[in-house]
């Protein structure tokens, strides 16, 4: 039981990283980037091929994949600015399209085979008292925490961070204060793509990557974004751990095949419980407050 709890908490840290890019985009630009899952998968593939080619440890590959995904972030932002209102719905729909596009692209480039970064160092286990920790999961969780910490610093100490938080609270007011919301949005999306790339590499160490694997990832992101609320990194971590626990316990009870379904069910319950507002302070029509 304790084993499951610890395992779930570690998974949760990773999930928080997965969701961070999505939550950032949602907070600052009010857009639901449904292609976020596919972006992570793309990062995973890049990570895999780099690892297979160079033999470098996945942790070193994270920045590389993050950088490689920046153009994608740029592209998504370019699309985003042109979307008509209501922003949530149009971004959701366009995101659906972009996701399909990415899926097909990846299938064309890399086939439908399943790939895994099977680094032997990561599959070993560490014993900590009564608990056996999978090294890979531990490493992923620690890496995720490190990145989240950096993100938190960026949000609180940098100019971009202040601009992002202001725009997330009230886009019009931020613009009136002289913040270039468009630039802030672009930076946010670039960052979001980078986070997706980094998460992707970690993802590839934990799970098989295949082109259609984006669905559960984006659902996790949506759930965490809903649970954590707009622009709160610490809540995101807590939400991630909560989801990780729910999933691990659920899978322990029901069986591994139910993992994705469980996430979908959690998403459904979250939506139904919220009854119509996608995030604190937002209505389905897209007007803040």
């Amino acid at each position: 039981m304790l084993q499951a709890l610890v395992s779930g908490a570690l998974l949760g840290c990773f999930y928080a990283l997965v969701a961070s890019g999505f939550a950032l985009t949602l907070s600052v630009t009010r857009a639901l980037n449904l292609a976020h899952g596919e972006m992570i998968v793309a990062g995973g593939y890049l990570g895999y091929w780099l690892w297979a080619g160079s033999g470098l440890g996945p942790l070193w590959l994270m920045p590389v994949a993050a950088a490689a995904l920046l153009p994608m972030g740029w592209g998504v932002h370019a699309l985003l600015r042109r979307l008509p209102e209501p922003r949530e719905l149009t971004s959701l729909t366009a995101g659906f399209g972009v996701a399909l596009l990415l899926q097909d692209g990846m299938r064309a480039l890399w086939g439908s085979d399943y790939r895994l970064i099977a680094d032997s160092a990561l599959t070993a286990s560490l014993r900590l008292g009564p608990i056996s920790l999978n090294r890979g999961r531990l490493a992923a969780a620690l890496a995720a925490l490190a990145v989240i910490a950096v993100l938190w610093v960026a949000l609180t100490r940098t100019r971009w961070g202040r601009a992002a938080r202001a725009t997330a609270l009230d886009e019009e007011a931020a613009a009136l204060l002289g913040i270039n919301t468009d630039l802030t949005g672009r930076t946010t999306l670039l960052l979001s793509a980078a986070l997706a790339g980094a998460s992707g590499v970690l993802f590839a160490t934990l799970h098989y990557v295949h082109p259609a694997g984006g669905g559960p990832l984006v659902m996790v992101s949506i759930v965490l974004a809903l649970w954590a609320g707009i622009g709160r990194m610490r809540s995101l971590l807590a939400a991630g751990v909560a989801l990780g626990l729910v999933e691990t316990l659920g899978v322990a009870w029901l069986g591994p095949g139910w993992r994705e379904t469980l996430v979908a069910a959690v998403l459904l319950f979250t939506l139904l419980a919220r009854g119509g507002s996608l995030a604190r302070g937002m209505t389905a029509g897209g007007h803040a407050g």
Binding site: P84, P86, L100, D104, T261, L262, A264, A284
Partner: protein
């Protein structure tokens, strides 16, 4: 504007003649598949008429497919199995609507997506009922002359599409259509005038679900196999969305024509040319539609009263 009944009859008659004209079975199957997608697109439009955007038609399609398949392999006569599929789809629609009553816009779309994923998950994991990941095989073929097996499926698909389009045309002029349009434009106001939004929205979902379920049931008998990743695929949620958005969801023929046109173009032209990327066409079409459609998707969902609040 929506099609006149006369136009509909003419188009149907034309299509009905094709098998007799000696079209090869492969093309009959292709057209039948196109008709099924057109049915899904129209069913989706029924929901869009009421301002409800669904990202989860696959749920109803899949439920209908499995219900019909299970009935058929347990000895139920084909036509009854199809009816069962439609009923199952309608029930699923009602369930989704009842659960998601307070939702609209993006949250509703996400909820329907989640429902479809859950449907897929149940189909994969509840092995005793659904055969798990492998699904159900060996579904009996539709009864008909052995000389032209594809013809029966073709006619049934055509019939289903015609029925669906007729329902759409009827709906647009009926009390249901009026209620849904009012709820779409201003649910609160409609409510003050005596419209119970929940009841009518549920009607729309049940109708849409039933038609999608019928399409699923027919599909199951056409390919004689159902599997979770086959019938609960997000493909069947995405494609009707694209086709209806492109074709003009407030019209009867628009989504259907777009569906048939896009599908045939994709299968006959794109697929041979760029086999691995032929789905890209759909994706690009969707993005273009969202960007350039007059009023965007906002036009579909209706506008809430202007921001004086």
């Amino acid at each position: 504007m929506s099609a006149s009944p006369a136009g509909l009859v003419a188009a149907t008659a034309l299509c009905a003649l094709l098998p007799a004209a000696g079209l090869p079975p492969y093309y009959l199957h292709l057209l039948a598949s196109a008709f099924l997608l057109a049915t899904l697109a129209s069913a989706w439009s029924l929901l869009a008429w009421g301002g409800q955007i669904s990202f989860g038609q696959a749920a109803f399609f899949g439920v209908g497919a499995y219900a019909a398949a299970l009935a058929s392999i347990h000895g139920v006569v084909s036509w009854a199995a199809l009816v069962l599929g439609a009923t199952a789809g309608a029930a699923a629609g009602a369930l989704v609507s009842a659960a998601a009553l307070r939702l609209s816009g993006a949250p509703l779309a996400l909820a329907t997506f989640a429902f479809a994923e859950i449907g897929r998950g149940i189909a994969i994991n509840w092995e005793r009922l659904t055969g798990g990941g492998a699904g159900i095989v060996g579904i009996p073929a539709l009864p008909g002359p052995a000389s032209s097996p594809r013809a029966v499926a073709y006619y049934l698909a055509l019939l289903l599409l015609t029925v669906t389009l007729s329902i759409f045309v009827w709906m647009a002029r009926s009390r249901l259509g009026l209620a849904l349009a009012a709820v779409r434009d201003d649910a609160e106001r409609a409510s003050l005038l005596g419209v119970n939004p929940a009841a009518w929205k549920l009607c729309a979902f049940a109708l849409s679900g039933g038609l999608s379920g019928a399409a699923g049931g027919l599909y199951a008998h056409m390919v004689r196999v159902v599997a979770p990743d086959l019938v609960f695929s997000a493909w069947y949620s995405l494609v009707p969305l694209i086709m209806a958005t492109l074709g003009g969801p407030r019209t009867a023929l628009g989504p259907a024509a777009a569906a048939v046109g896009l599908y045939l173009a994709s299968e006959l032209v794109l697929q041979p040319l760029v086999p691995t990327l032929h789905q890209v066409g759909y994706a690009l079409a969707l993005i273009a539609a969202v960007l350039f459609l007059p009023g965007g998707l906002g036009g579909l969902v209706g506008r809430r009263r202007n921001a004086a609040s």
